[in-house]
Amino acid sequence: MDKILVGLKRVVDYNVRVRVRSDGSGVNTDGVKMSINPFDEIALEEALRIKERGEAKEVIVVSIGTPDAQQQLRTGLAMGADRAILVESDTAVDPLTGARVFRALIEREDPGLVLLGKQAIDDDNNQTGQMLAAIWNRPQATFASKIEMTGDTARVTREVDVGLEVIEVDLPAVVTTDLRLNEPRYVKLPDIMKAKKKQLDQLSINDLGVEIATPIKSVGFEPPAERQKGVIVEDVAGLVSALKDRGLL
């Protein structure tokens, strides 16, 4: 396998507790820390490990978004990716359009594997990888916790509700990552310097000839329903009696 394509989405850092704007027009993301979507970081780490085992030659990181996403691509290059592609878009793209952008890049790059996070932690859609596999007419292995490359195929262990499912997919394929797949490496300062010299191409969605899909429209935002604050009991006897009062014991 020559190439692995990895998606890196720029999202609000997972440590930031986002709040809904008081007028319900969206969530407040002004001035908050932005990072690589954590599941995408795991995808990149896995791609780098596959390359380091000699099972791939080049790791290409891709982001779709505003020019600000160059920051996340540079971080990806510092982690060890060989080159980066930014597909510019002023607005957030919907999952199907995102999948179409990757499909168009696949035509150009001909990767043996596309590694994506299982979901982005902003819109929590969990769609793009599966949609890409669908329109590419290739296998998908979602929620991966282990990936073994075996020549023309990959054996993937998937985190499913009842345990772990092992499937085998012919390559090329789309694999989406779950949390336990690996622990991403830290970026070292010399690597950040080196990353500045690596190739970062900028394209537009138009350049790729991608048709924008009909989005699911967001028409209003609200904070989640609050739970009422409860009572503090002093000891186990108090706990047991409170549970009995509620008919739970």
């Binding site: 507790r17 986002v18 709040r19 809904v20 969530v27 999952p95 199907l96 932690i121 929590d124 859609n125 969990n126 769609q127 599966q130 949609m131 890409l132 596999a133 669908a134 329109i135 290739r138 296998p139 292995a141 979602t142 916790s145 054996r155 998937r158 985190e159 509700d161 345990g163 772990l164 499912e165 092992v166 499937i167 085998e168 012919d170 949390l179 336990r180 899909a213 009909t214 699911i216 429209k217 967001s218 028409v219 209003g220 935002f221 609200e222 904070p223 989640p224 329903a225 739970r227 409860g230 009572v231 503090i232 009991v233 186990v236 006897a237 706990l239 047991v240 549970l243 509620r246 739970l248």
Partner: protein, 314 residues
Amino acid sequence: MTKILVIAEHAADTVNPSTAKSISCAADIEDAEIHVAVFSDNGESVARQVAALGSVSRVLRIDNAANETLLAAVVAPQVVAIADGYTHIFGPSTTFGKDLMPRVAGLLGVNQVSDIMAVLGSHTFKRPIYAGNAVVTVEASAERTVVATVRTASYKAVSDGGNAEIDAISVEADLPTHTRFIELLAGSSDRPDLQTAAKVVSGGRALASSENFEIIYKLADALGAGVGASRAAVDAGYVPNEMQVGQTGKIIAPDLYIAIGISGAIQHLTGIKDAGTIVAINKDPDAPIFEVADIGLVGDLFSIVPEFQAAVGG
């Protein structure tokens, strides 16, 4: 005319409760005619169970040897082959539905509504974003098929009492062989299933080891409860990932949830906010879990839990 196709989730011969919850969500759409598709190698028993659920008018039984293990790449083209005439196609937001439904949406060339938590109209829904820190109202195009997953924790199972007709149909679709099932490594447990248990006991990082998790299992057994864990406990290797409760694990809605040694990170709270009663046991009185707990007990879990277990007769 609103016509909804719900994709049944099942294991071998038993329908998964997520199916009855997805039907419940579909039934919230006014004047909807609801059909359920059962893909299986032999769906006789599952089709009968589904036909007995309320709100269902027709069950489509699609038997095919290739449907023995329900791989998304194999099932999706079959869903698309029968999609004509339906305004909506729903599946559960379980790993089964999350894997399958976007592939269906991709083949149909539409975006998906993920994790419906409330129905406001035939094309208007509420869904959680940012790990549940915000709820967004979304509108799907009325010109297109609505493909959606249902956040099962937001819905009660539709009641029994249905008597739908069952049609065995054959579906013409090219089924790929590029994806092959190898094996399922299931955690073997006699305890109630975490996703559907009426009571759940969960342990967090404060348990400090997998050996110490024994006291959680013992309390759960005394209560007849399922067992869960925080992401921190999973990350630390105390328990397997399928026990993880939270935005990146399982989203559950038991009648009673007991969080032991769990601080209450937002991503964990997202997974339990629909629980009936939340009990928190933690030594840190400032732990965020107490902000959402209905009943809190501050103290050392290693003395409280065995005492609690003895008190409930375990």
